[in-house]
């Protein structure tokens, strides 16, 4: 399904972007003067390293170029320095306390001078140790932040995807034509610029609104409208390769390392802005959100190429899902819930589609499992992604401090979500399958309901 070359390229670019020297997500004390610390991620070293085998397997299955041994040795060095620092700090505390006591009790001048000298020397030691620790901390924490999430048991670790569901089979005998030949409906300029006319334009809006409405009505989701820009700190927290989105060049950028990216409101990362540092009551869980909006993700441009088309275009209308749960098993149920709603929708359209678990190599480091909704694209003679629902566990929540309170503890929430629909790719596939867009049946369409209501009103009016 996916060429190895592209997978390698993607992995490489992800690695490249992750290897920046300065991170917006973690800023050490010496750099905090110039760079505002917007977020202090929860760094659970013990938790991460407790199951070394799973971590090793995750790194290997994803094909990441990370030497766990080296990270662990950096961790030891970091811990050692930290312990040393803590010891000196503690010692200094004791001296300060003693000095206070002696001053009160009227100790001798000699004793006081001795303690003062000792305090000064400890203060200097502490300063020196801190200066020494910064580069060690920098080195270790940045490596640590590149470590991936553990993989879900269901995630295929070989190179192949795992089929979950399939509807219809692609007809191989059909003579395929590209959707771009429909000049009456599509005017394609390049990957950043295309126009859709008439029924394609109507479908573009209607499909998005209908599916969102279906999620609200049938799936108990809450609708949202989200911002289109997401800052670097959240992309890093979500381990999104920065090359997936266009960088926005802002005129007056206060925090130079926390730049903005054009994700579109219907991007998973856009939800993270509202969840950062948020602590919710357990009563709102599971928290189910759905939104309509734009998506400007260019991660799959190469994958669906090389010929530019609606399959490779950056901009699309999209429906994005986002769910937070307290426990891991609930997150799994929610992922299934979203997929079931998506299956209802695509089945009603009656286009050949399937749902697969993507192999570990295609996952971003934050994902533990990714289910991909794919429709068959006749012109490419393969399936293309129109949605993907991922399980992130509590990996991202820990980084953005998204939690719920249980007694005196904070539980980090388990996140599930992703786009359920990219309209441009679906339109392309429907046209290539010979569908008339105006005749496509869609779940969640308002008009059916409206007609029913109007009928009822007319009936009632008869008796007025």
């Amino acid at each position: 399904m996916f060429s190895l070359r592209n997978v390698f390229k993607k992995g490489l670019s992800a690695w490249k972007t992750c290897s920046r020297n300065i991170s917006a997500l973690y800023i050490t004390g010496d750099k905090a003067n110039e760079n505002y610390v917007t977020l202090q991620p929860y760094l659970d070293f013990k938790g991460t390293f407790s199951d070394r085998q799973s971590l090793e397997q995750s790194i290997a299955s994803r094909g990441l170029d990370i030497g766990l041994e080296s990270v662990l040795s950096k961790y030891q060095k970091y811990e050692m320095h930290h312990a040393q620092l803590a010891k000196v700090a503690e010692e200094r505390e004791v001296v300060t306390k003693r000095l206070k006591e002696l001053t009160k009790a009227g100790g001798s001048a000699e004793q006081l001078d001795d303690l003062k000298e000792r305090g000064k020397s400890l203060r200097n030691d502490l300063k020196t140790l801190k200066q020494k620790l910064y580069p060690i901390e920098d080195d270790f924490i940045h490596d640590y932040l590149h470590l991936p999430n553990n993989l879900h048991l269901q995630c295929p670790t070989g190179g192949q995807e795992k089929l979950l569901y399939r509807h219809g089979l692609p007809k191989s005998e059909r003579e395929s034509f590209s959707h771009l030949s429909r000049h009456d409906l599509i005017h394609f300029v390049d990957n950043n610029r295309y126009y859709m006319m008439d029924q394609a334009a109507h479908f573009d809006v209607n499909a998005m609104q209908s599916l969102a409405r279906y999620f609200v009505k049938q799936g108990d989701f809450i609708q949202t409208a989200n911002p289109d820009f997401v800052r670097c700190v959240l992309l890093e927290a979500n381990a999104t390769p920065l090359t997936d989105y266009h960088l926005v060049q802002e005129e007056h950028l206060q925090n130079k390392i926390n730049t903005a990216y054009l994700t579109g409101g219907a991007a998973f990362e856009s939800y993270l802005g509202a969840m950062t540092k948020l602590c919710v009551y357990p009563s709102v869980l599971p928290l189910r959100y759905i939104c309509c909006g734009r998506s400007y993700n260019r991660a799959e441009t190469d994958l669906n190429g090389p010929i530019p088309s609606l399959y490779t275009a950056t901009q699309t209308n999209a429906v994005q899902s986002f769910v937070a749960t307290q426990r891991a098993d609930e997150a799994e149920c929610e992922q299934e819930h979203i997929l079931n709603l998506a299956i209802d929708f695509y089945k009603t359209l009656d286009i050949p589609f399937r749902i697969v678990y993507a192999p570990a190599k295609q996952l971003t480091p934050a994902e533990s499992l990714r289910a991909v909704i794919e429709v068959y694209a006749p012109s490419l003679q393969r399936y293309v992604c129109v949605g993907r629902i991922s399980n992130y566990g509590d990996f991202v929540s820990k980084r953005i401090l998204f939690s719920t309170r249980r007694e005196k503890h904070y539980d980090f929430l388990h996140l599930v979500g992703g786009p359920v629909l990219y309209t441009s790719r679906l339109i392309a596939a429907l046209l290539e399958h010979g569908f008339h867009l105006e005749d496509c049946k869609m779940l969640g369409t308002a008009s059916a309901k409206t007609t029913q209501q109007q009928d009822l009103q007319q009936f009632k009016d008869l008796f007025k």
Binding site: A212, Q223, N226, R231, A260, L278
Partner: protein
């Protein structure tokens, strides 16, 4: 070339109209914008024409480049080719002509009508949008700057559904009037945006640029203009009316108290109308745009006023322009929620939008009209503030079919409140 219709709509506008100096500054900035496409050379104006042009420039508060033009003409007469080129550039900077009826308007808009559709409760009990939306847990704008950017906002629950309902309502209305829907791109090459009269560089540009050198569209009018650029249409096709739902990106900021909250934001959704027509059709077409807009807001049950804008409020491309200002009772001010402009052939000349006249086959420049059907944030302000009912908001009748028959917007307890932690200790 100078300002586009897009810019006219981007102007600052409040009930008090105290912001004129800012407005003039903004106009001046975009006035310097250069044309992306060089149109056909214009004939050198006669002395009488120059006097008329100067009167127009002064009335419209534009940079007066007529003294420069006059001196360049002298140079051209002496055979200086460089000065001829410079003259063409300066002539391109001139604003469109002004509709004669606006000549005696002075600097104030003329209120053509006031539409009162709602009896508002006493002022003392009225709340402002952000207070209403926050109390109902339907909106968040605080503590987002470091994560999703300055002045970014989330709409949640029924408020987000209301946004989509408004889009559907507007689309149903304008497509019913013969407008064809087009999906448009939001990322555009610099040249397309500049040919609409927006500057893309400089200290206070309103245009966001991306890492690849392309720009974010401020209004779908830019993408639509790009779509029809250099096309020759048949007269029978005109008036050609299109509509688009798009995301609009504007880099401008405002610290003004009356523009707080979502009144002026960097990103929002808008349903836009755009028409290409003949010279004979354009005035009637603008009236149709105005009538559609009035009807849209009348059916929404808002209290609003229709303004005929004076020459100094037209920007460069408009020949005439109507604004609609809704009464925002929570803010106690009139706020612009819509406008429409007749740009005659000003944009079409710069974009090369032409048509073939049926009678003699002659190719002429078309006229363009643009107007806002609905721009979401300000419409939400007007609706929520007008339809507040104690601890709930009534949903206007016409929007209910798009909201599954719901009649009220109420507090949603399933949406978490904004309780933030600073850090969590390991």
């Amino acid at each position: 070339m100078s300002q586009g219709g897009a810019l006219i709509k981007m102007k600052l506008l409040t009930n008090s109209r105290l912001l004129r100096p800012l407005l003039l500054l903004r106009r001046q900035r975009s006035h310097d914008a250069k044309a992306a496409q060089a149109p056909k050379p214009r004939p050198v104006p006669t002395s009488a024409q120059l006097d008329e042009l100067e009167r127009n420039v002064i009335a419209r508060h534009h940079r007066n480049n007529l003294p420069l033009i006059r001196s360049l003409i002298q140079g051209v007469k002496a055979g200086d080719q460089d000065q001829l080129r410079q003259l063409q550039v300066e002539l391109e900077q001139l604003p469109n002509a002004t509709h004669p009826r606006l000549q005696d308007y002075g600097e104030q808009p003329r209120e053509l009508a006031q539409y009162v559709h709602r009896q508002l409760p006493p002022q003392s009990s009225l709340k402002e949008f952000s207070e209403l939306a926050r109390a109902l847990n339907l909106y968040r704008m605080d503590h987002l700057g470091n994560y999703t950017g300055h002045k970014s906002y989330y709409l949640t629950g029924q408020l987000a559904t209301l946004e989509q309902a408004i889009i559907q309502y507007a689309l149903q209305a304008v497509t019913g009037q013969g407008f064809k829907l087009i999906s448009v791109p939001d990322i555009l090459p610099r040249e397309v945006i500049e040919s609409c009269g927006m500057r893309t560089d400089g200290e206070r540009t309103q245009v966001y640029k991306l890492d690849n050198g392309e720009c974010l569209s401020g209004t779908s009018e830019m993408a639509l203009a790009g779509f029809f650029a250099n096309k020759v249409l048949q007269e029978e096709q005109l008036p050609l009316k299109v509509t688009a739902v798009s995301r609009c990106y504007r880099a401008e900021t405002s610290g003004l108290q009356e523009e707080k909250g979502i009144y002026r934001v960097h990103q929002f959704t808008k349903v836009e109308m755009f028409a290409i027509c003949t010279e004979e059709q354009s005035e009637a077409e603008l009236e149709e745009f105005k009538n559609i807009e009035v009807d849209l807001f009348r059916r929404l049950g808002l209290n609003f006023r229709l303004l005929d804008m004076p020459p100094c409020e037209l920007g460069a491309p408009a020949y005439q322009k109507y604004d609609i200002e809704a009464w925002m009772p929570g803010r106690q001010m009139w706020g612009e929620i819509s406008s429409c402009s007749n740009c005659t052939d000003y944009q079409a000349r710069r974009l090369g939008i032409k048509y073939r006249r049926s009678s003699d086959g002659q190719i002429l420049h078309a006229h363009t009209i643009n107007g806002t059907a609905t721009a979401i944030p300000r419409l939400l302000i007007a609706l929520l503030e007008s339809y507040q009912r104690g601890d709930a908001i009534e949903i206007p009748d016409v929007l209910r079919p798009f909201m599954d028959g719901q009649e009220l917007i109420t507090r949603n307890k399933r949406i978490p409140e904004t309780k933030l932690v600073k850090f969590i200790k390991v």
